[in-house]
């Protein structure tokens, strides 16, 4: 057997092993056929004795197979503790695990996308650069992966030590899938290591496709892992599959598929991707700023751009997924929605709006700076000030609170809790308009960036340009018009206006990107993209993007968790610890900042470890890194 054939056989075997690992937990969880054959008879005999319960969410009847949720009391049995607030320790462990978990789930998806781009691109030099970039991505995530597992262990020990009654109950409910989660984690680890260490051995032809298939399996396993973890928080917020006493009714699908599971899944996938993109972009920015040679600067500039573009591609639909989640929260329990957006936690949403605005402002700023490395993009520079104005207006409306925190004297002077003018901007109608204007402007900045150094040569270029301008203008008018229209119609009609507003933004995104791509096919280049020749300020924008995202993730996690108020499991298991109250905004903000700081210090350590490995790598490994030579225009 020749060497190549042997390699092919081994790689196919490795791929089959991965598929086997993926299916293994599912097969293990299937009930034995032998048991299944006897089950109906046994069920008939048992039927007379069994107790039935009604599902709190699905309203179906089921046989009670679990114990009721424990009624905990404040004491060492249910809430053992150190001389410190247990909830804060759990908060820290959970948040760090989530940060790293998000990172190591997102980066392999980027890696898959970039590797795929490398495989399908016809330009060999560019294909090699994509491949090197994908390899750089996975290398970063490998050390972080170990740390994620360690943090997961710390989290479980924290639960077991500080919240044994609650964790015992949750484990009893999720017992049928707990081992699947553990086996999935083993499958993820095995697949990741085979994928990483098999990179050099499977770099060409058929073997490369096998390698790419491995990344698909790796990401399916990772996504399923995340879905399972999401089902726990979904159950805590909107329990299903149990009766009113919290007794498991035997249908694990009902427990997993709660009212909020799917919105949480979508929101977390998009959030993880945007976060992962931000972290990799910040890594590239740091390396760019620390680079000594033009070659390194070019490489890290390019890496930062790709990571940022991938991250922002998922950031743009993220607010819409957030709206869906909130809509489902309201549909599940209206009071829960009011607590979130109009009550106790409403001020945190103002902070969240501020952070979302910062993310989009940073993205736009980076793109405007990035136009500086393209000859020919100067033609757009004089229009940027108008985009700044539009963004600022959208941002200011988006962050305006409905009510102010005031002293009685201030309240009296203003004549009420709402400002006579600014109070109008504190409602959802205005805020939907604000965020959609911001996102549409970001799309416009991207379109300008993509055509910065190009002139369309298609015969209908003039009509295309005019149409594009009119489309964006009409999109703005429609978004703002719908926002104003919302003030003149009743709330039950107004709430539906958010859908056409979102559709307008998405129309701008998809149609204008598509139109621009068609127009720029075979376009004349006015100058090359000079990778590495970008201002240092742009790199700080990338770092800002990543930091803001980390902070916002911490904030949103806190909001989502806090909405349960004094419940471990909403309306099923009460939290009777001394910490079953909502923290002040100031305390929460300090805690989130601490988590962010800890994450960034620890991930810097991870990057440093990665750089040690890079220093030991053979010289040949750096081949294919984009140099300072002009890059093909198609590379953006």
């Amino acid at each position: 057997m020749g060497l190549v054939t042997r390699k092919k056989v081994f790689s196919i075997m490795a791929l089959c092993a991965m598929v086997g690992l993926l299916l293994f937990p599912v097969i293990v969880s299937l009930p034995s056929l032998a048991i299944g054959a006897d089950a109906p008879d046994a069920a008939k005999k048992e039927e007379a004795k069994v107790e039935k319960g009604r599902d709190v969410y699905y309203k179906t009847e089921g046989i009670v197979v679990g114990a009721p949720a424990p009624k905990t009391v404040d004491g060492p049995k249910d809430y053992p503790r150190y001389n410190f607030e247990s909830r804060v320790l759990l908060w820290f462990a959970n948040q760090q695990h989530l940060y790293y978990g998000s990172f190591v789930l997102a980066v392999p998806i980027f890696c898959m996308v970039v590797e795929f781009m490398g495989v399908v691109t016809k330009d060999k030099a560019l294909a090699k650069r994509y491949d090197q970039l994908a390899y750089d991505f996975i290398k970063i995530s490998l050390t972080a992966y170990s740390l994620t597992a360690v943090l997961g262990g710390i989290l479980i020990f924290t639960f077991l030590t500080l919240y044994p009654a609650f964790f015992g109950y949750l484990s009893s409910i999720f017992r049928p899938v707990m081992h699947i989660y553990a086996l999935m984690f083993v499958a993820e680890s095995a697949t990741l290591y085979i994928y990483y260490y098999g990179w050099d051995k499977m770099k060409e032809g058929f073997l490369k496709w096998i390698h790419l298939s491995m990344s698909v399996i790796l990401n399916i396993i990772g996504t399923l892992l995340m879905f399972l973890a999401n089902s726990w928080i979904g159950f805590m917020m909107s329990p299903a599959g149990v009766d009113e006493q919290g007794r498991f009714l035997g249908n694990i699908w009902h427990v997993l598929h709660t009212a909020l599971w799917n919105p949480l899944n979508l929101h977390r996938i998009l959030g993880n991707m945007a976060f992962g993109g931000g972290v990799v972009a910040a890594y590239a920015a740091y390396k760019f700023l620390a680079s000594k040679t033009d070659e390194d600067r070019a490489h890290y500039d390019w890496m930062g751009y790709i990571a940022m573009a991938l991250g922002v591609a998922f950031l743009i639909p993220l607010p819409f997924a957030g709206y869906w989640l909130m809509r489902e929260v309201y549909a599940y329990r209206q009071q829960m929605g009011i607590t979130l957006m109009g009550g106790l936690l409403a001020w945190l949403f103002i902070i969240q709006a501020t952070m979302i605005g910062i993310l989009f402002l940073s993205t736009n700023y980076y793109l405007w700076q990035a136009m500086g490395r393209m000859r020919g993009a100067e033609k757009y520079q004089r229009y940027i000030k108008y985009l700044v104005f539009i963004l600022a207006c959208g941002y200011l409306v988006f962050i305006t609170p409905h009510t102010m925190v005031m002293t009685p004297a201030e309240l009296k002077a203003m004549g009420g809790q709402q400002h006579p003018v600014l109070g109008n901007y504190g409602v959802m109608s205005a805020k939907n308009g604000g965020i959609n204007v911001i996102i549409t402007t970001t799309v416009l900045s991207f379109v300008w960036y993509m055509r910065g150094n190009k002139v369309s040569t298609v015969s209908w270029a003039k009509f295309g340009n005019i149409f594009m301008g009119v489309f964006f203008a009409c999109a703005y008018v429609n978004i703002v018009g719908l926002a104003i229209y919302g003030y003149y119609i009743p709330a039950n009609v107004r709430v539906g206006l958010s859908v056409p507003q979102v559709a307008t933004t998405l129309s701008s995104l998809f149609f204008m990107f598509a139109l621009n791509s068609v127009m720029m096919k075979g376009a004349k280049q006015t100058g090359a993209i000079e990778w590495g020749k970008i201002s240092a300020r742009s790199q700080y924008a990338l770092i800002m993007l990543a930091t803001a995202f980390t902070w916002m993730m911490g904030l949103m996690g806190y909001i989502r968790s806090s909405v349960r108020l004094f419940w471990h499991v909403n309306e099923i298991m009460r939290d009777n610890s001394p910490w079953a109250y909502t923290h002040t905004v100031g305390f929460a903000a300090n805690m989130i900042s601490f988590n962010v700081l800890f994450f960034w210090i620890s991930i810097l350590f991870v990057f440093w470890l990665g750089s040690l490995a890079a220093k030991k790598a053979p010289a040949g490994e750096k081949a294919g890194v984009p140099g300072s030579a002009p890059q093909p225009a198609g590379s953006h």
Binding site: F463, F467, G469, N478, G496, P500, S507
Partner: protein
């Protein structure tokens, strides 16, 4: 110049028509009336 104006008018007609259709049908799909204010 005349050609630009013509292109502008055609673009405007297409875009205004498109966004009105989006507004109308997406509200209709939710069982809501987009023209509520004008009908009342």
């Amino acid at each position: 110049m005349g050609q630009n104006i013509l292109y502008g008018i055609i673009s405007l007609a297409i875009c205004v028509g498109y966004f009105l259709l989006v507004d109308h049908f997406l509200m209709d799909a939710q069982g809501l009336d987009f023209w509520y204010m004008f009908r009342k």
